[in-house]
């Protein structure tokens, strides 16, 4: 059994605005083990960003607990938009110094993430998106983190920078024994980097498990729907048609669109249920229709 680094229990967060109430997180519980990458996947508005922000302490959850195995664990975050996540008036070196307060270390970190010493005095507007994302990673590393929330770290980047950043994150994880919560809407990217994967929909966990299990043997209809939408040039296309009924669901949030819906789905919320070692899904169909 691996050592658990982060325990999240019954996390809820609700946003109130003029438009109404948005349950960004609805009773979310999961563990993250030391040294692993947990991928969080979902469409926009599923609560994945809120989750990341709660975990690093940028947002205060309404209910629930976030417990690290050891209070001295440092946590950091890498953001989606590299242009937005660095102060345009600060030099690169100063940005990295924000977390480590040590110029020598900053230069060392910049080298570690693949920037040259000449770039330490540059301002953000002189760098490309890919380079800026490296600066953001170096800043996160400056805090000597054990745990990093990567909030869509590659989705704002050009294709040829994406794989560089992914490879860099992989290398850094091995060298520094890091644990990642990797948030992304891109299943292919998460498939590539994550050990385990967590599928979210409307603030709830739909399915969680080993990446290969979830991708190859998806249990929840929503997971299957998501997988069917991934553009894959020559893989066989798994067609998955959903319905679009105007019904209100007090149970499973996916129920209105789910082709396997039963009456019970609209009424009660199914808790996560284990299907296979560590592979859990929240669906009433698992026993009858589940597995494949």
């Amino acid at each position: 059994m691996k050592e658990v680094l982060l325990k999240v229990r019954n996390l809820s967060k609700t946003f109130r605005s003029d438009k109404g109430i948005l349950k960004a997180l609805d009773d979310v519980s999961f563990d993250v083990c030391k040294g692993e990458t947990l991928g969080v996947v979902g469409e926009s508005g599923c609560g994945k960003t809120t989750l990341g922000r709660c975990v690093v302490g940028l947002l205060k959850p309404d209910h629930g607990t976030i417990v690290f195995s050891d209070a001295s664990k440092h946590k950091q975050i890498i953001f989606q938009d590299p242009y937005n996540s660095v102060d345009p008036y600060w030099t690169v070196e100063k940005i990295v110094c924000e977390t480590c307060n040590d110029r020598k270390k900053a230069v060392k970190l910049l080298k570690e993430v693949g920037l040259t010493e000449d770039e330490k005095d540059s301002f953000p507007h002189e760098l490309s998106g890919g380079q800026l994302q490296r600066v953001g990673i170096a800043r996160a590393l400056g805090g000597d983190p054990d745990f990093i929330v990567c909030d869509e770290p590659v989705s704002a980047l050009d294709v040829s920078y994406q794989s560089k950043i992914i490879s860099l994150l992989e290398d850094l994880q091995q060298e520094n024994d890091l644990t990642y919560l990797f948030i992304s809407h891109d299943l292919a990217v998460v498939r590539h980097i994550a050990d385990r994967i967590m599928i979210m929909y409307k603030g709830q966990i739909m399915e969680i498990g080993e990446t290969s299990q979830v991708v190859n043997k998806p249990a929840h209809p929503y997971t299957r729907f998501l997988l069917s939408a991934v553009p894959a040039p020559f893989g066989e296309k798994k067609q998955f048609d959903i319905r679009d009924d105007e019904v209100v669901s007090e149970g499973c949030p996916f129920a209105p669109r789910c082709p396997y819906r039963k009456d019970v789905c609209l009424k009660n919320r199914r808790m996560l249920k284990e299907i296979y070692e560590g592979h859990m899904a929240a669906c009433y169909n698992i026993n009858t229709d589940g597995g494949q």
Partner: protein
Amino acid sequence: MSNILTIENLNVTYRTLAGRRHVLQDVSLSLASGQIRAIVGESGCGKSTLVNTIISLLPDNAEIESGSIMIDGRETVGLTGERLRKMRLEKLGVVFQDPFSALDPSYTIEKQILESIRISRKVSMKDVEMEIRELLRSCGLRNPEEILKKYPHELSGGQQQRIMIAMALLNKPSLLIADEPTTALDVTVQKEILRLLKSLAKKNDLAVLFVTHSLDVAAEIADRIAVFYGGRVVEEGRVEEIFSFPLHPYTQALLKTIPSIEYGKNERKLMPIEGELFSFLNEEEGCCFAPRCPYASERCFKESPKYRESHGHGFACMLEEVL
């Protein structure tokens, strides 16, 4: 099948503080009705300039040096004023990346659609109501009556994009230009929009120029792909050929750099492309990809490669080995 869009040897330059910069070089493309052609490239590859040139929306400091763009048999380079407006209205439909900023937030959908019809014909809502409803339905919007009364912010991103597509098709254009129409959308919605565009192209015999940064998306929708880099078409061919036998080193590298849903952790190593993206600001002699190309020889830094084509699959590279 007739060619709806024919671009020949198009050269566009920008005047910048640092001098003239070639943003499009010798771009040639043709597109027949019913066909979907994807333009794939990263930032700064010239794909937006190409779109802006076709719809004649180039910024003031840009200039078409040479070349021609024929839309439905009519030359559009040099068109101005009323004739340009008419050409745009009759022949072209455009869908942009961000539907929310393309719709005016202070008018209902109905008003906006009616307004864009009124540009070409004097009608009232009653005359065209059926037509609009039918159009919205064909664009996959199931309750046109309800949607017409709503404001843009009351609709989801997917619905907004469907409305943009419907509005682009209002005047029954022969060419639809879709500039990254799914980039701002979720994967699940993206899939639906792609499916919609495909069926519309088939049903209406519409030529679609689909601009995207993602090879996967291009493969999902297009018949043929043109890969852009540094303002040039570096490779062009049928989707299967591009994916199975990529000829240009850039295309090859690009394919190795994308994560795939087929491979999990540690099953496949990504091969990033070294170096920084091509920028027009530091233009140099020779092949634009040479600084990042693993096979580049001295010659690549001196001469610009010629575009070669055989069996409908063309590429611009000097290396003999790759052919």
